[in-house]
Every structure is written in structure tokens, then in C-alpha cells.
Amino acid sequence: MAQSEEVPSSEGDAEERRLIDRSAAGDQEAFRQLVLRYHRLVINVAFRALGEVALAEDVAQDVFIKVYKSLPTYRHDKPFKHWLHRVAANTVTDSLRRRRPVVSLDGLEQPLVSAGSDPQDVAARHDLQRAVRHAIASLPPHYRDTIALQAFGELSYDEIAKALDIPLGTVMSRLNGAKRLLRERLGDLVRPAEEANTA
């Protein structure tokens, strides 16, 4: 689950700090460079959460608008990327919660792990992903925000702890609780095929 996108080196950190300060002072060219560094990361988080390109772009724009407005309060006391992840996760889960599930979980009784290109498989996989997204959206906020960083942001436990400013043990506890609830809510969808068929 290593995150390999747009992570600055220590030299990059100094440059990034300058870009952040200049953006906070209203320099849109500096902000453009920040967005250039991180837009892919934010769009990926939004797309994993929402599953639609146009919607992901809209939500990514909302994320960057929030970032631009909040930059004057950013204090460099945590990595910008972690702060950005937190803003992105909050924004996409809010957006996800506002959208009602399109697919009923009752209609998804067959587990699916196949990556085949059969149109029926593809459609079923999309439905399954949608069910997972909405199951995440239905979690209590402290579970939802934590697992969103893992599932949509692809952050490690340690990175989640830094992004949320919580101890590592709390991350483990929350992910534990979140995944237990997800298993309950997704039911047969998370049972391996042979067990689901015999159940």
C-alpha cells in the first residue's frame, strides 16, 4: 500500500514550503504549482471514493478550494501531504454520504474477485465497488474517516496516524472496528466464493 505519488524530498520540502507560503499570500502561480504536484493524488482519492471521473474532478476541485482558503492557517507542523490527505478524505466522504446508494446490497449475492473483461463481470465488479464505497460512507464518522484514508488514500497505519493526529494504537482500533462493521454490512460479498456457495 505504499504511496508513491508526488512525495517531495527534503530539498523538495523547502521548495514546497515556499510554495505554500506564497500560495497563502495569494500567489496563484505558486498555488498552481502545488496543485500540479498533488492533483493526481487528490483525484485518485476522489475517484476511488466516488467511481466517476467527472464527479471526482469536481470533488478534487472542492478539496483544492478548501486548501486554498485554509492555507493561511497551515503551520508547517505536519507534512503538507498528510494535511491534504485529511482534507481530501473529509471532502470525499462528505460527498459520498450525500449520494444515496444506487445499488441495493440485496442484489449482490455473488462474491466477485475475478478481474476478467466479460461485460457482465465488469458490471458486477462496478456494482460491488459501489457497494463497498457506500458501506464505507455509512460508517460512524471516526471509523469512516480512518478507513477512507486507508482505502481511498492508500495510506499506511503510520501515515493515517500522522494525518489524523492520533496514536498508532487508535488507528489499529478504529480500523478494526471499521472492518468488522464493513464485514457485517457487506455480508456474503466478503465471503470467499466456496463458503458463500455452501452457506
Partner: protein, 279 residues
Amino acid sequence: MLSHATTRDWLIPYADGMLAVDERRRIDGHIAGCASCAAELREVRELNLLLVTLPPAPPIAFAPFWLNLQAVLPQRRALRMPRIQPYRRLGIAFAMAATAVLVAAGSAFAAPAALPDNPLYPVKQLEEGVRLSLAPANERLTIQLQLANERLREAQAMASNHKPRLAEDSLRAFRVVVNDAAAGLKNSADPKVAKDALHKLHLKLDAVERENASRGDDDQQVKQLVEDANDELDRIEQEDAVEAPPTLVIGEQSTPRPTPQPTARPTPRPTPSDDEHHH
């Protein structure tokens, strides 16, 4: 051997690879003899598989994304009136009350010399905003330069009074004013006047940094903001220099700025602990 209940509690961090070797061995030992926990572990892994296979977005062009974003970015709103810190809310409330009294009295007085730690400072900011918005086009640059100088006077005074956070706010606000003034400076009727104005701002920025360094605080953020502001003035001056000659140059093309390339970083693997238990 671990109990059934303890093993179930640890299955998720186990599947996520978050347990130490000895803890993993203990879980392995239990699972080998417990069909129920083994089945539960398979479900946990199935769920993990679903979570990690949510696909990334297809490639999206940056230019249109940025143009759409830029069109809806707020226009430097927070920076003309910098961060309102909690202890300044009282000041704002007081200032609003003071404004009401002043207006009622028909007075034109509105604390033009107030510093950022003065309760009347928000009144001054409001007054400046009104003054700038009502200024005719030919006076706008003059007022912007006055405001830029005023921000630096405030920054120097705050650095002198050991209030580096307020000095930082004034320096950020300075950058906003200067950015707004950049176009006016570029198109100034008298380039020498514009150049002199930029030179004076450089000198005042240096004075802010000297004050910051000499007061024992030597706040690094102030220092950095001064450096950035100097760079900004240089950039504006260079743009002036580049764009000043009115002659048409044929056959030259602009060169795009290089884009900084990010580098990858390995993901750390922490040791487990469990200091909070939610339902």
C-alpha cells in the same frame, strides 16, 4: 495459546501485516486449530482485497483542471484581512462597537495608525478596503504602495514588540498588496518611480528582518517570509525590465518554467500498540 476472543480481536491487524513476529506466531498457532477463526481470517482478507482493488482514476489533463479551478478560486480574500486569532475576536467586537460610536458621532476618525495588536486594527483594515475600492484608477497604485509600506511598518513594529505571529500576518498581507500592485507597477507611466518604490520596499523589508534578528526572537518564519517577499519584489522588477522595451522582437519564443519533479519515499512500518478501544 491465545484465546478465541483475543485472536478474533487481532485478526484485522494480523491480515494487515501490523503484528510483530511473535504475535503473528501466536495467532498462527490458534488459527491452525480453529476453523472458525480461519474462516473469519479469509473474510477479512476478502474485504482487504475489495478495499485495495478500488481502482485509481484514469489520466486527467492538468491544464483544463487548473483552468476550471482557477476560475472559482476566491480572490485573496483571507489575506487582505489576515487570520483572526481567538484573542483578537474580542478586539473585533470592541472595534465594531467603536465603529458604531464613531459613525453615530459623525466622526471621520478610524484609527489610521493602529497596529495589529490594537483593538481598533480591524477598523483600520475595513477603512483601507473601502479606500482602495473607491479609489479612481489613476490613484490606485499610489494607495497600494502606501498600504504595502504600512504593512511593513506594522511588521517591523510587531517584530520589535516580540509578536512574531502578528509580524508574519503583516508580511503575508504585504505580499497580497504587492501582488495586487504588480500590474500597476508593470504599466507605470514612470518606470523610474516604480523602480524607486520597489527599492524602498526592499529597504523596509530588510529593516523588518534586522528588527526580527536583533530582538532575540529571530523567528524563522518571519525570516522566510521576508526572503519570499524580497524574491517577489525582484520578480516584479524583472518582469518590468523584460516587458519595458516596447520594441517588437521577432523569432523568439517564450520558454516554459521547469516543473519540479517529486521523488518517491518508502512507507514506514510501525510497531503495533493498542491504546484505544472503540466498540
